[in-house]
Protein backbone atom coordinates (compact mmCIF):
# COMPACT_ATOMS: atom_id res chain seq x y z
CA UNK A 1 0.00 0.00 0.00
CA UNK A 2 3.00 2.33 0.44
CA UNK A 3 3.57 2.79 -3.25
CA UNK A 4 0.01 3.88 -3.95
CA UNK A 5 1.26 7.39 -4.72
CA UNK A 6 3.82 6.23 -7.27
CA UNK A 7 1.18 4.08 -8.89
CA UNK A 8 -1.05 7.06 -9.54
CA UNK A 9 1.50 8.73 -11.82
CA UNK A 10 2.09 5.56 -13.81
CA UNK A 11 -1.04 4.31 -15.47
CA UNK A 12 -0.87 0.66 -16.36
CA UNK A 13 -1.76 -0.17 -19.95
CA UNK A 14 -4.89 -2.27 -20.34
CA UNK A 15 -3.04 -5.39 -21.48
CA UNK A 16 -1.03 -5.36 -18.26
CA UNK A 17 -4.13 -4.87 -16.20
CA UNK A 18 -5.98 -7.89 -17.51
CA UNK A 19 -2.81 -9.95 -17.49
CA UNK A 20 -3.20 -11.43 -13.96
CA UNK A 21 -6.83 -12.23 -14.69
CA UNK A 22 -5.80 -14.33 -17.66
CA UNK A 23 -3.83 -16.52 -15.29
CA UNK A 24 -6.70 -17.17 -12.94
CA UNK A 25 -9.41 -17.23 -15.61
CA UNK A 26 -9.79 -21.02 -16.04
CA UNK A 27 -9.74 -21.49 -12.30
CA UNK A 28 -12.27 -18.73 -11.73
CA UNK A 29 -14.64 -20.06 -14.40
CA UNK A 30 -14.56 -23.61 -13.03
CA UNK A 31 -14.99 -22.45 -9.46
CA UNK A 32 -17.89 -20.26 -10.48
CA UNK A 33 -19.77 -22.95 -12.40
CA UNK A 34 -19.05 -25.91 -10.16
CA UNK A 35 -18.70 -24.33 -6.75
CA UNK A 36 -20.41 -20.97 -6.40
CA UNK A 37 -23.34 -21.84 -8.64
CA UNK A 38 -24.03 -25.18 -6.88
CA UNK A 39 -23.77 -23.41 -3.53
CA UNK A 40 -26.41 -20.91 -4.57
CA UNK A 41 -28.48 -23.64 -6.20
CA UNK A 42 -28.35 -25.75 -3.03
CA UNK A 43 -29.81 -22.88 -1.05
CA UNK A 44 -32.44 -22.23 -3.70
CA UNK A 45 -33.36 -25.91 -4.05
CA UNK A 46 -33.75 -26.35 -0.32
CA UNK A 47 -36.77 -24.02 -0.48
CA UNK A 48 -38.47 -26.04 -3.21
CA UNK A 49 -40.18 -29.41 -3.40
CA UNK A 50 -38.07 -30.47 -6.38
CA UNK A 51 -38.52 -34.21 -6.95
CA UNK A 52 -38.60 -36.80 -9.72
CA UNK A 53 -41.19 -34.75 -11.64
CA UNK A 54 -38.49 -32.07 -12.03
CA UNK A 55 -40.96 -29.22 -11.51
CA UNK A 56 -39.82 -27.16 -8.56
CA UNK A 57 -42.35 -25.24 -6.47
CA UNK A 58 -41.37 -22.76 -3.82
CA UNK A 59 -42.40 -24.20 -0.48
CA UNK A 60 -40.72 -21.84 1.98
CA UNK A 61 -39.36 -23.44 5.10
CA UNK A 62 -41.36 -26.65 4.68
CA UNK A 63 -38.24 -28.75 4.08
CA UNK A 64 -36.54 -27.43 7.18
CA UNK A 65 -39.66 -28.01 9.24
CA UNK A 66 -39.77 -31.50 7.82
CA UNK A 67 -36.19 -32.16 8.87
CA UNK A 68 -36.99 -31.35 12.48
CA UNK A 69 -40.13 -33.46 12.36
CA UNK A 70 -38.32 -36.35 10.67
CA UNK A 71 -38.56 -39.37 12.97
CA UNK A 72 -35.20 -40.57 11.61
CA UNK A 73 -33.44 -37.42 12.68
CA UNK A 74 -32.46 -38.27 16.28
CA UNK A 75 -30.82 -41.51 15.21
CA UNK A 76 -29.10 -39.93 12.21
CA UNK A 77 -27.71 -37.07 14.28
CA UNK A 78 -26.56 -39.55 16.89
CA UNK A 79 -24.88 -41.69 14.19
CA UNK A 80 -23.18 -38.64 12.73
CA UNK A 81 -21.90 -37.51 16.12
CA UNK A 82 -20.69 -40.96 17.16
CA UNK A 83 -19.04 -41.57 13.82
CA UNK A 84 -17.31 -38.18 13.68
CA UNK A 85 -16.24 -37.92 17.31
CA UNK A 86 -15.00 -41.49 17.72
CA UNK A 87 -13.26 -41.53 14.33
CA UNK A 88 -11.56 -38.25 15.06
CA UNK A 89 -10.51 -39.09 18.61
CA UNK A 90 -9.20 -42.56 17.84
CA UNK A 91 -7.43 -41.67 14.61
CA UNK A 92 -5.82 -38.65 16.26
CA UNK A 93 -4.66 -40.71 19.22
CA UNK A 94 -3.13 -43.35 16.99
CA UNK A 95 -1.56 -40.78 14.69
CA UNK A 96 0.02 -39.23 17.77
CA UNK A 97 1.28 -42.54 19.15
CA UNK A 98 2.67 -43.70 15.82
CA UNK A 99 4.39 -40.44 15.00
CA UNK A 100 5.97 -40.16 18.45
CA UNK A 101 7.06 -43.79 18.25
CA UNK A 102 8.59 -43.46 14.80
CA UNK A 103 10.01 -39.95 15.08
CA UNK A 104 11.17 -39.93 18.68
CA UNK A 105 11.74 -43.45 20.01
CA UNK A 106 12.80 -44.98 16.68
CA UNK A 107 14.12 -41.82 15.07
CA UNK A 108 16.20 -42.49 11.97
CA UNK A 109 15.72 -46.26 12.17
CA UNK A 110 14.80 -48.34 9.14
CA UNK A 111 11.95 -49.88 11.11
CA UNK A 112 10.46 -46.43 11.61
CA UNK A 113 10.30 -45.94 7.85
CA UNK A 114 8.76 -49.38 7.38
CA UNK A 115 6.04 -48.69 9.95
CA UNK A 116 5.24 -45.37 8.34
CA UNK A 117 5.10 -46.78 4.83
CA UNK A 118 2.84 -49.61 5.99
CA UNK A 119 0.54 -47.11 7.64
CA UNK A 120 0.35 -45.10 4.45
CA UNK A 121 -0.85 -48.05 2.40
CA UNK A 122 -4.52 -47.91 3.48
CA UNK A 123 -4.73 -44.32 2.31
CA UNK A 124 -2.96 -45.04 -0.97
CA UNK A 125 -4.99 -47.99 -2.18
CA UNK A 126 -8.31 -47.08 -3.80
CA UNK A 127 -11.30 -47.08 -1.47
CA UNK A 128 -13.11 -49.83 -3.37
CA UNK A 129 -10.18 -52.18 -2.92
CA UNK A 130 -9.64 -51.20 0.69
CA UNK A 131 -13.21 -51.87 1.84
CA UNK A 132 -13.12 -55.41 0.41
CA UNK A 133 -10.74 -56.38 3.19
CA UNK A 134 -13.11 -55.16 5.89
CA UNK A 135 -16.00 -56.92 4.22
CA UNK A 136 -13.93 -60.08 4.41
CA UNK A 137 -12.89 -59.57 8.06
CA UNK A 138 -16.49 -59.09 9.18
CA UNK A 139 -18.11 -61.40 6.64
CA UNK A 140 -21.24 -62.85 8.30
CA UNK A 141 -20.64 -66.37 6.91
CA UNK A 142 -17.99 -68.81 8.09
CA UNK A 143 -15.74 -67.56 5.26
CA UNK A 144 -15.08 -64.30 7.13
CA UNK A 145 -11.79 -63.84 8.96
CA UNK A 146 -13.22 -63.12 12.41
CA UNK A 147 -15.78 -65.89 12.16
CA UNK A 148 -13.24 -68.45 11.01
CA UNK A 149 -10.81 -67.45 13.78
CA UNK A 150 -13.56 -67.74 16.36
CA UNK A 151 -14.54 -71.07 14.89
CA UNK A 152 -10.98 -72.35 15.02
CA UNK A 153 -10.57 -71.38 18.65
CA UNK A 154 -13.95 -72.87 19.39
CA UNK A 155 -15.30 -69.65 20.85
CA UNK A 156 -18.47 -69.80 18.87
CA UNK A 157 -19.63 -72.38 16.42
CA UNK A 158 -22.27 -70.37 14.57
CA UNK A 159 -20.98 -67.55 12.38
CA UNK A 160 -21.73 -64.15 13.85
CA UNK A 161 -23.45 -61.64 11.64
CA UNK A 162 -21.14 -58.72 12.39
CA UNK A 163 -22.77 -56.24 10.07
CA UNK A 164 -26.10 -56.48 11.87
CA UNK A 165 -24.51 -56.47 15.32
CA UNK A 166 -21.81 -53.84 15.10
CA UNK A 167 -22.13 -52.00 11.80
CA UNK A 168 -21.08 -48.64 13.21
CA UNK A 169 -17.98 -50.11 14.86
CA UNK A 170 -16.97 -51.71 11.55
CA UNK A 171 -17.43 -48.44 9.68
CA UNK A 172 -15.39 -46.56 12.27
CA UNK A 173 -12.55 -49.11 12.30
CA UNK A 174 -12.28 -49.05 8.52
CA UNK A 175 -12.40 -45.27 8.44
CA UNK A 176 -9.80 -44.60 11.10
CA UNK A 177 -7.25 -47.04 9.75
CA UNK A 178 -7.29 -45.20 6.45
CA UNK A 179 -7.22 -41.70 7.98
CA UNK A 180 -4.48 -42.20 10.57
CA UNK A 181 -1.79 -41.77 7.93
CA UNK A 182 -2.86 -38.24 7.04
CA UNK A 183 -2.47 -37.02 10.59
CA UNK A 184 0.64 -39.14 11.05
CA UNK A 185 2.46 -37.40 8.20
CA UNK A 186 1.80 -33.93 9.58
CA UNK A 187 2.61 -34.83 13.17
CA UNK A 188 5.75 -36.76 12.15
CA UNK A 189 7.03 -33.76 10.24
CA UNK A 190 6.36 -31.44 13.16
CA UNK A 191 8.20 -33.73 15.58
CA UNK A 192 11.01 -34.13 13.08
CA UNK A 193 11.51 -30.37 13.04
CA UNK A 194 12.32 -30.30 16.77
CA UNK A 195 16.08 -29.73 17.07
CA UNK A 196 18.04 -32.63 18.57
CA UNK A 197 19.67 -30.25 21.10
CA UNK A 198 16.37 -29.81 22.89
CA UNK A 199 16.19 -33.53 23.65
CA UNK A 200 19.83 -33.59 24.70
CA UNK A 201 19.38 -30.62 26.99
CA UNK A 202 16.36 -32.33 28.51
CA UNK A 203 18.33 -35.53 29.00
CA UNK A 204 21.18 -33.66 30.66
CA UNK A 205 18.67 -32.15 33.01
CA UNK A 206 17.45 -35.63 33.78
CA UNK A 207 14.03 -35.28 32.21
CA UNK A 208 11.91 -38.41 31.97
CA UNK A 209 10.49 -39.63 28.65
CA UNK A 210 7.09 -38.56 29.86
CA UNK A 211 8.17 -34.98 30.41
CA UNK A 212 10.01 -34.91 27.07
CA UNK A 213 6.75 -35.89 25.40
CA UNK A 214 4.51 -33.54 27.38
CA UNK A 215 6.91 -30.58 27.63
CA UNK A 216 8.75 -30.66 24.30
CA UNK A 217 6.88 -32.72 21.75
CA UNK A 218 3.21 -32.01 22.47
CA UNK A 219 3.52 -28.19 22.56
CA UNK A 220 5.06 -28.16 19.08
CA UNK A 221 2.16 -30.22 17.81
CA UNK A 222 -0.51 -27.68 18.69
CA UNK A 223 -0.71 -26.17 15.21
CA UNK A 224 -0.81 -29.43 13.20
CA UNK A 225 -3.26 -30.86 15.72
CA UNK A 226 -5.61 -27.96 15.11
CA UNK A 227 -5.34 -28.39 11.36
CA UNK A 228 -6.01 -32.12 11.60
CA UNK A 229 -8.92 -31.67 14.00
CA UNK A 230 -10.71 -29.21 11.78
CA UNK A 231 -10.09 -30.81 8.43
CA UNK A 232 -10.73 -34.38 9.56
CA UNK A 233 -13.83 -33.47 11.53
CA UNK A 234 -15.34 -31.69 8.54
CA UNK A 235 -14.39 -34.68 6.45
CA UNK A 236 -16.08 -37.11 8.84
CA UNK A 237 -19.20 -34.98 9.17
CA UNK A 238 -19.63 -34.46 5.45
CA UNK A 239 -18.24 -37.38 3.49
CA UNK A 240 -19.85 -40.76 3.33
CA UNK A 241 -17.82 -42.75 0.80
CA UNK A 242 -16.65 -45.50 3.10
CA UNK A 243 -20.06 -45.84 4.72
CA UNK A 244 -21.65 -46.09 1.30
CA UNK A 245 -19.24 -48.78 0.18
CA UNK A 246 -19.28 -50.72 3.44
CA UNK A 247 -22.89 -50.71 4.62
CA UNK A 248 -24.74 -48.18 2.48
CA UNK A 249 -26.19 -46.79 5.68
CA UNK A 250 -27.68 -50.05 6.85
CA UNK A 251 -28.73 -52.23 8.51
CA UNK A 252 -31.96 -50.23 8.83
CA UNK A 253 -30.53 -46.76 9.43
CA UNK A 254 -27.83 -47.84 11.87
CA UNK A 255 -24.92 -46.29 9.98
CA UNK A 256 -26.71 -43.51 8.11
CA UNK A 257 -25.05 -40.18 8.83
CA UNK A 258 -26.58 -36.83 8.03
CA UNK A 259 -24.69 -36.35 4.76
CA UNK A 260 -25.41 -39.90 3.59
CA UNK A 261 -29.06 -39.23 4.43
CA UNK A 262 -28.99 -36.14 2.21
CA UNK A 263 -27.55 -38.23 -0.61
CA UNK A 264 -30.14 -40.99 -0.18
CA UNK A 265 -33.04 -38.55 -0.03
CA UNK A 266 -31.86 -36.88 -3.22
CA UNK A 267 -30.61 -39.73 -5.37
CA UNK A 268 -32.41 -42.82 -4.10
CA UNK A 269 -35.79 -41.29 -3.29
CA UNK A 270 -35.51 -38.33 -5.70
CA UNK A 271 -36.48 -35.78 -3.04
CA UNK A 272 -33.92 -33.32 -4.37
CA UNK A 273 -35.33 -30.33 -2.50
CA UNK A 274 -35.38 -32.12 0.82
CA UNK A 275 -31.90 -33.55 0.21
CA UNK A 276 -30.57 -30.05 -0.44
CA UNK A 277 -32.07 -28.80 2.81
CA UNK A 278 -30.36 -31.63 4.70
CA UNK A 279 -27.07 -30.75 2.93
CA UNK A 280 -27.41 -27.19 4.10
CA UNK A 281 -27.68 -28.42 7.67
CA UNK A 282 -24.43 -30.35 7.13
CA UNK A 283 -22.73 -27.19 5.85
CA UNK A 284 -24.03 -25.23 8.82
CA UNK A 285 -22.73 -27.82 11.29
CA UNK A 286 -19.32 -27.85 9.56
CA UNK A 287 -19.00 -24.09 9.81
CA UNK A 288 -20.04 -23.97 13.44
CA UNK A 289 -17.48 -26.67 14.22
CA UNK A 290 -14.75 -24.82 12.33
CA UNK A 291 -15.43 -21.57 14.16
CA UNK A 292 -15.58 -23.41 17.47
CA UNK A 293 -12.22 -25.09 16.96
CA UNK A 294 -10.55 -21.94 15.71
CA UNK A 295 -11.72 -20.26 18.93
CA UNK A 296 -10.72 -23.20 21.06
CA UNK A 297 -7.20 -23.40 19.71
CA UNK A 298 -6.83 -19.66 19.83
CA UNK A 299 -6.13 -19.16 16.16
CA UNK A 300 -4.87 -15.56 16.43
CA UNK A 301 -2.60 -16.31 19.36
CA UNK A 302 -0.92 -19.00 17.33
CA UNK A 303 -0.26 -16.90 14.29
CA UNK A 304 1.63 -14.15 16.08
CA UNK A 305 4.68 -15.97 17.44
CA UNK A 306 5.41 -17.64 14.11
CA UNK A 307 5.48 -14.22 12.45
CA UNK A 308 8.02 -12.83 14.88
CA UNK A 309 10.33 -15.78 14.39
CA UNK A 310 10.35 -15.11 10.65
Amino acid sequence: MENATTRQTYKKPFTKKIYPYLFIMPFAVLVFIFFILPAIATIAMSFTDLNASMKPNFVGFTNFKRIFMDYNLPQILWNTAIFAVLSLAISMLFALIISIATQYFLKGKVTAVIYRVLWLIPSIIPAVVYVTFWKYVFDPTEVGLLNSIMHQFGVESDPVSWFTKAAMAIVIVATIISTISGGMILLSAAINSIPEDLYQAARVDGASEKSVITKIILPTLKWPLMYITISELIGFVSSYFFIMLLTNGGPMRDTTTLSLYAYQQAFNLKYYGYGSAVSLIVVLISFILTLFFLRLFDFDQMIKPSRIED
Binding site: P20, L37, T42, A101, F105, I121, V128, V237
Partner: protein, 277 residues
Protein backbone atom coordinates in the same frame (compact mmCIF):
# COMPACT_ATOMS: atom_id res chain seq x y z
CA UNK B 1 20.44 -58.18 32.09
CA UNK B 2 18.72 -56.00 29.54
CA UNK B 3 19.31 -52.29 29.71
CA UNK B 4 16.28 -50.05 30.08
CA UNK B 5 17.04 -48.64 26.64
CA UNK B 6 16.66 -51.95 24.84
CA UNK B 7 13.65 -52.78 26.92
CA UNK B 8 12.04 -49.55 25.87
CA UNK B 9 12.82 -50.17 22.20
CA UNK B 10 11.38 -53.65 22.52
CA UNK B 11 8.22 -52.26 24.04
CA UNK B 12 7.88 -49.68 21.27
CA UNK B 13 8.37 -52.35 18.61
CA UNK B 14 5.83 -54.63 20.24
CA UNK B 15 3.18 -51.93 20.29
CA UNK B 16 3.96 -50.77 16.77
CA UNK B 17 3.82 -54.30 15.42
CA UNK B 18 0.49 -54.84 17.13
CA UNK B 19 -0.92 -51.62 15.69
CA UNK B 20 0.35 -52.42 12.24
CA UNK B 21 -0.96 -55.98 12.28
CA UNK B 22 -4.28 -55.19 10.51
CA UNK B 23 -2.40 -53.62 7.63
CA UNK B 24 0.04 -56.51 7.34
CA UNK B 25 -2.87 -58.95 7.49
CA UNK B 26 -4.61 -56.97 4.77
CA UNK B 27 -1.64 -57.08 2.42
CA UNK B 28 -1.09 -60.80 2.96
CA UNK B 29 -4.77 -61.52 2.50
CA UNK B 30 -5.00 -59.76 -0.86
CA UNK B 31 -2.21 -61.87 -2.27
CA UNK B 32 -3.44 -65.13 -0.77
CA UNK B 33 -7.09 -64.64 -1.67
CA UNK B 34 -6.25 -63.77 -5.25
CA UNK B 35 -3.79 -66.56 -5.91
CA UNK B 36 -5.01 -69.45 -3.81
CA UNK B 37 -7.81 -71.88 -4.29
CA UNK B 38 -9.15 -72.14 -0.74
CA UNK B 39 -11.00 -75.40 -1.29
CA UNK B 40 -7.93 -77.28 -2.49
CA UNK B 41 -5.42 -75.06 -0.69
CA UNK B 42 -3.26 -74.81 -3.78
CA UNK B 43 -1.78 -71.98 -5.75
CA UNK B 44 -3.94 -71.13 -8.73
CA UNK B 45 -4.30 -68.33 -11.20
CA UNK B 46 -7.89 -69.10 -12.17
CA UNK B 47 -9.11 -65.90 -10.47
CA UNK B 48 -7.23 -63.97 -13.10
CA UNK B 49 -9.35 -65.34 -15.93
CA UNK B 50 -11.01 -61.88 -16.11
CA UNK B 51 -8.07 -60.95 -18.35
CA UNK B 52 -9.60 -63.00 -21.13
CA UNK B 53 -13.37 -62.89 -20.69
CA UNK B 54 -16.02 -60.46 -19.44
CA UNK B 55 -16.82 -60.70 -15.74
CA UNK B 56 -20.12 -62.20 -14.70
CA UNK B 57 -20.70 -62.28 -10.99
CA UNK B 58 -23.71 -62.63 -8.72
CA UNK B 59 -26.04 -61.29 -11.38
CA UNK B 60 -23.76 -58.41 -12.33
CA UNK B 61 -22.59 -58.55 -15.93
CA UNK B 62 -19.61 -56.37 -16.69
CA UNK B 63 -17.72 -55.74 -19.93
CA UNK B 64 -14.23 -57.01 -20.67
CA UNK B 65 -11.64 -55.30 -18.50
CA UNK B 66 -9.23 -53.94 -21.13
CA UNK B 67 -11.36 -51.05 -22.42
CA UNK B 68 -11.97 -50.16 -18.75
CA UNK B 69 -8.21 -50.13 -18.16
CA UNK B 70 -7.80 -47.82 -21.12
CA UNK B 71 -10.52 -45.52 -19.74
CA UNK B 72 -8.76 -45.42 -16.38
CA UNK B 73 -5.42 -44.50 -17.90
CA UNK B 74 -6.86 -41.84 -20.19
CA UNK B 75 -9.03 -40.37 -17.43
CA UNK B 76 -6.20 -40.25 -14.88
CA UNK B 77 -3.73 -38.60 -17.24
CA UNK B 78 -6.31 -36.09 -18.44
CA UNK B 79 -7.02 -35.13 -14.83
CA UNK B 80 -3.31 -34.72 -14.12
CA UNK B 81 -2.74 -32.62 -17.23
CA UNK B 82 -5.72 -30.33 -16.70
CA UNK B 83 -5.18 -29.88 -12.98
CA UNK B 84 -1.53 -28.98 -13.51
CA UNK B 85 -2.33 -26.63 -16.40
CA UNK B 86 -4.92 -24.77 -14.34
CA UNK B 87 -3.42 -24.76 -10.87
CA UNK B 88 0.12 -23.68 -11.83
CA UNK B 89 -0.85 -20.36 -13.49
CA UNK B 90 -3.46 -19.68 -10.81
CA UNK B 91 -0.97 -20.28 -8.01
CA UNK B 92 1.55 -18.06 -9.83
CA UNK B 93 -0.97 -15.24 -10.03
CA UNK B 94 -1.76 -15.58 -6.33
CA UNK B 95 1.88 -15.68 -5.33
CA UNK B 96 3.45 -13.18 -7.70
CA UNK B 97 0.98 -10.83 -9.37
CA UNK B 98 -1.09 -7.97 -8.03
CA UNK B 99 -4.69 -7.67 -9.04
CA UNK B 100 -7.90 -6.31 -7.63
CA UNK B 101 -9.78 -8.75 -5.50
CA UNK B 102 -6.70 -10.85 -4.81
CA UNK B 103 -7.11 -10.84 -1.05
CA UNK B 104 -10.79 -11.67 -1.29
CA UNK B 105 -10.09 -14.48 -3.75
CA UNK B 106 -7.38 -15.86 -1.50
CA UNK B 107 -9.76 -15.87 1.43
CA UNK B 108 -12.32 -17.59 -0.72
CA UNK B 109 -9.75 -20.20 -1.67
CA UNK B 110 -9.12 -20.88 2.01
CA UNK B 111 -12.83 -21.19 2.60
CA UNK B 112 -13.18 -23.61 -0.30
CA UNK B 113 -10.47 -25.82 1.09
CA UNK B 114 -12.36 -26.34 4.32
CA UNK B 115 -15.80 -26.36 2.74
CA UNK B 116 -17.49 -29.76 2.72
CA UNK B 117 -17.66 -29.83 -1.08
CA UNK B 118 -19.50 -33.11 -1.14
CA UNK B 119 -22.60 -31.37 0.19
CA UNK B 120 -22.88 -29.54 -3.12
CA UNK B 121 -23.25 -32.72 -5.10
CA UNK B 122 -27.05 -32.59 -5.40
CA UNK B 123 -27.02 -29.10 -6.94
CA UNK B 124 -23.96 -29.96 -9.04
CA UNK B 125 -25.88 -32.90 -10.44
CA UNK B 126 -28.64 -30.54 -11.51
CA UNK B 127 -26.28 -28.11 -13.15
CA UNK B 128 -24.78 -31.02 -15.09
CA UNK B 129 -28.27 -32.10 -16.14
CA UNK B 130 -28.99 -28.57 -17.40
CA UNK B 131 -25.69 -28.54 -19.30
CA UNK B 132 -26.38 -31.99 -20.79
CA UNK B 133 -23.19 -33.28 -19.22
CA UNK B 134 -24.62 -36.21 -17.29
CA UNK B 135 -23.27 -39.56 -18.50
CA UNK B 136 -20.34 -37.85 -20.21
CA UNK B 137 -16.67 -37.92 -19.29
CA UNK B 138 -16.56 -34.13 -19.54
CA UNK B 139 -19.05 -33.82 -16.69
CA UNK B 140 -17.05 -36.14 -14.42
CA UNK B 141 -13.81 -34.39 -15.36
CA UNK B 142 -15.10 -30.91 -14.62
CA UNK B 143 -16.62 -31.83 -11.27
CA UNK B 144 -13.57 -33.84 -10.19
CA UNK B 145 -11.17 -31.08 -11.17
CA UNK B 146 -13.08 -28.30 -9.46
CA UNK B 147 -13.24 -30.34 -6.28
CA UNK B 148 -9.50 -30.81 -6.03
CA UNK B 149 -8.28 -27.50 -7.49
CA UNK B 150 -8.27 -25.43 -4.28
CA UNK B 151 -5.94 -27.89 -2.58
CA UNK B 152 -3.60 -28.03 -5.59
CA UNK B 153 -3.50 -24.25 -5.92
CA UNK B 154 -2.65 -23.91 -2.25
CA UNK B 155 0.22 -26.36 -2.45
CA UNK B 156 1.51 -24.77 -5.66
CA UNK B 157 1.31 -21.29 -4.15
CA UNK B 158 3.52 -22.48 -1.32
CA UNK B 159 6.15 -23.55 -3.85
CA UNK B 160 5.96 -20.23 -5.75
CA UNK B 161 6.25 -18.30 -2.49
CA UNK B 162 9.59 -19.92 -1.83
CA UNK B 163 11.16 -18.77 -5.11
CA UNK B 164 13.42 -15.76 -4.44
CA UNK B 165 12.27 -12.58 -6.18
CA UNK B 166 15.86 -11.91 -7.33
CA UNK B 167 15.60 -14.72 -9.84
CA UNK B 168 12.58 -13.15 -11.47
CA UNK B 169 14.09 -9.65 -11.41
CA UNK B 170 17.29 -10.95 -12.97
CA UNK B 171 15.30 -12.57 -15.75
CA UNK B 172 13.37 -9.35 -16.39
CA UNK B 173 16.56 -7.32 -16.46
CA UNK B 174 17.90 -9.75 -19.03
CA UNK B 175 14.95 -8.90 -21.27
CA UNK B 176 12.32 -11.43 -20.34
CA UNK B 177 8.70 -10.36 -20.21
CA UNK B 178 6.70 -11.30 -17.16
CA UNK B 179 5.28 -14.30 -18.98
CA UNK B 180 8.55 -15.56 -20.39
CA UNK B 181 10.12 -15.19 -16.94
CA UNK B 182 7.27 -17.32 -15.62
CA UNK B 183 7.75 -19.91 -18.32
CA UNK B 184 11.54 -20.04 -18.50
CA UNK B 185 12.58 -19.30 -14.94
CA UNK B 186 9.80 -19.86 -12.45
CA UNK B 187 8.19 -23.01 -13.80
CA UNK B 188 11.51 -24.91 -13.94
CA UNK B 189 12.18 -23.71 -10.41
CA UNK B 190 8.92 -25.12 -9.04
CA UNK B 191 9.09 -28.41 -10.98
CA UNK B 192 9.24 -30.45 -7.74
CA UNK B 193 5.96 -28.85 -6.73
CA UNK B 194 4.41 -29.63 -10.10
CA UNK B 195 5.58 -33.22 -9.72
CA UNK B 196 4.00 -33.29 -6.30
CA UNK B 197 0.57 -32.08 -7.37
CA UNK B 198 0.73 -34.36 -10.42
CA UNK B 199 1.22 -37.39 -8.16
CA UNK B 200 -1.61 -36.25 -5.96
CA UNK B 201 -3.93 -35.67 -8.91
CA UNK B 202 -3.07 -39.04 -10.35
CA UNK B 203 -3.78 -40.94 -7.16
CA UNK B 204 -7.06 -39.08 -6.73
CA UNK B 205 -8.20 -39.73 -10.28
CA UNK B 206 -7.16 -43.37 -10.20
CA UNK B 207 -9.28 -44.02 -7.11
CA UNK B 208 -12.34 -42.03 -8.17
CA UNK B 209 -15.44 -44.18 -7.98
CA UNK B 210 -18.14 -41.94 -6.55
CA UNK B 211 -18.54 -39.57 -9.50
CA UNK B 212 -18.63 -42.51 -11.86
CA UNK B 213 -21.30 -44.16 -9.75
CA UNK B 214 -23.35 -40.97 -9.73
CA UNK B 215 -22.82 -39.58 -13.22
CA UNK B 216 -22.03 -42.48 -15.53
CA UNK B 217 -24.74 -44.94 -16.48
CA UNK B 218 -22.96 -46.99 -19.14
CA UNK B 219 -20.91 -49.85 -17.72
CA UNK B 220 -18.43 -49.68 -20.58
CA UNK B 221 -17.64 -46.06 -19.74
CA UNK B 222 -16.49 -46.90 -16.20
CA UNK B 223 -12.96 -46.73 -14.89
CA UNK B 224 -11.48 -49.53 -12.80
CA UNK B 225 -12.68 -48.06 -9.50
CA UNK B 226 -16.27 -47.82 -10.69
CA UNK B 227 -15.98 -51.30 -12.23
CA UNK B 228 -14.83 -52.78 -8.95
CA UNK B 229 -17.40 -50.87 -6.92
CA UNK B 230 -20.13 -52.63 -8.91
CA UNK B 231 -18.84 -55.92 -7.53
CA UNK B 232 -18.09 -54.73 -4.01
CA UNK B 233 -21.31 -52.91 -3.21
CA UNK B 234 -23.57 -55.78 -4.27
CA UNK B 235 -24.05 -57.27 -0.79
CA UNK B 236 -22.44 -57.31 2.59
CA UNK B 237 -21.13 -60.81 2.16
CA UNK B 238 -19.16 -61.15 -0.99
CA UNK B 239 -19.46 -64.61 -2.53
CA UNK B 240 -16.29 -64.68 -4.53
CA UNK B 241 -13.42 -62.89 -2.81
CA UNK B 242 -10.99 -64.57 -5.19
CA UNK B 243 -12.25 -62.69 -8.24
CA UNK B 244 -12.53 -59.34 -6.45
CA UNK B 245 -9.10 -59.52 -4.86
CA UNK B 246 -7.59 -60.59 -8.17
CA UNK B 247 -9.08 -57.57 -9.94
CA UNK B 248 -8.15 -55.45 -6.90
CA UNK B 249 -4.53 -56.57 -7.06
CA UNK B 250 -4.34 -55.95 -10.79
CA UNK B 251 -5.76 -52.50 -10.14
CA UNK B 252 -3.76 -51.59 -7.03
CA UNK B 253 -0.29 -53.04 -7.66
CA UNK B 254 0.71 -50.48 -10.31
CA UNK B 255 -0.09 -47.55 -8.04
CA UNK B 256 1.58 -49.10 -5.00
CA UNK B 257 4.74 -49.50 -7.10
CA UNK B 258 4.28 -45.97 -8.42
CA UNK B 259 3.76 -44.76 -4.89
CA UNK B 260 6.92 -46.40 -3.56
CA UNK B 261 8.91 -44.48 -6.17
CA UNK B 262 7.17 -41.18 -5.50
CA UNK B 263 6.82 -41.61 -1.74
CA UNK B 264 9.11 -38.69 -0.89
CA UNK B 265 7.07 -36.33 -3.07
CA UNK B 266 3.87 -37.58 -1.51
CA UNK B 267 5.09 -36.75 2.00
CA UNK B 268 6.20 -33.32 0.83
CA UNK B 269 2.83 -32.56 -0.74
CA UNK B 270 1.01 -33.25 2.48
CA UNK B 271 3.40 -31.03 4.35
CA UNK B 272 3.24 -28.23 1.83
CA UNK B 273 -0.52 -28.33 2.11
CA UNK B 274 -0.48 -28.01 5.87
CA UNK B 275 2.35 -25.57 6.38
CA UNK B 276 0.45 -22.73 4.77
CA UNK B 277 -2.64 -23.13 6.91
Amino acid sequence: MMSTGTLKKLLVHTYMTLFTLPIIAMIIWYFLAATMNFTTGQFSMENFSFFGKPVEYAGVKLPLIWPIVLNTIVYSFLIVAIEVCISVPTAYAFARLDFRGKRATMKFLFLMRSFPGITLIIATFFILVQMNLVNTYLGVLLVAITGSLPGRVYIMKGFFDEVPWDIEWAAMVDGCTRFSAFKKVLVPYVLPGIGAIAVFSFLGAYGEWFLFKLLIFNDDMLTLAGYLSKLVTKENNIINYGLITAIGLFYTLPIVVFYIFTQKIFMKVNLGGAKQV
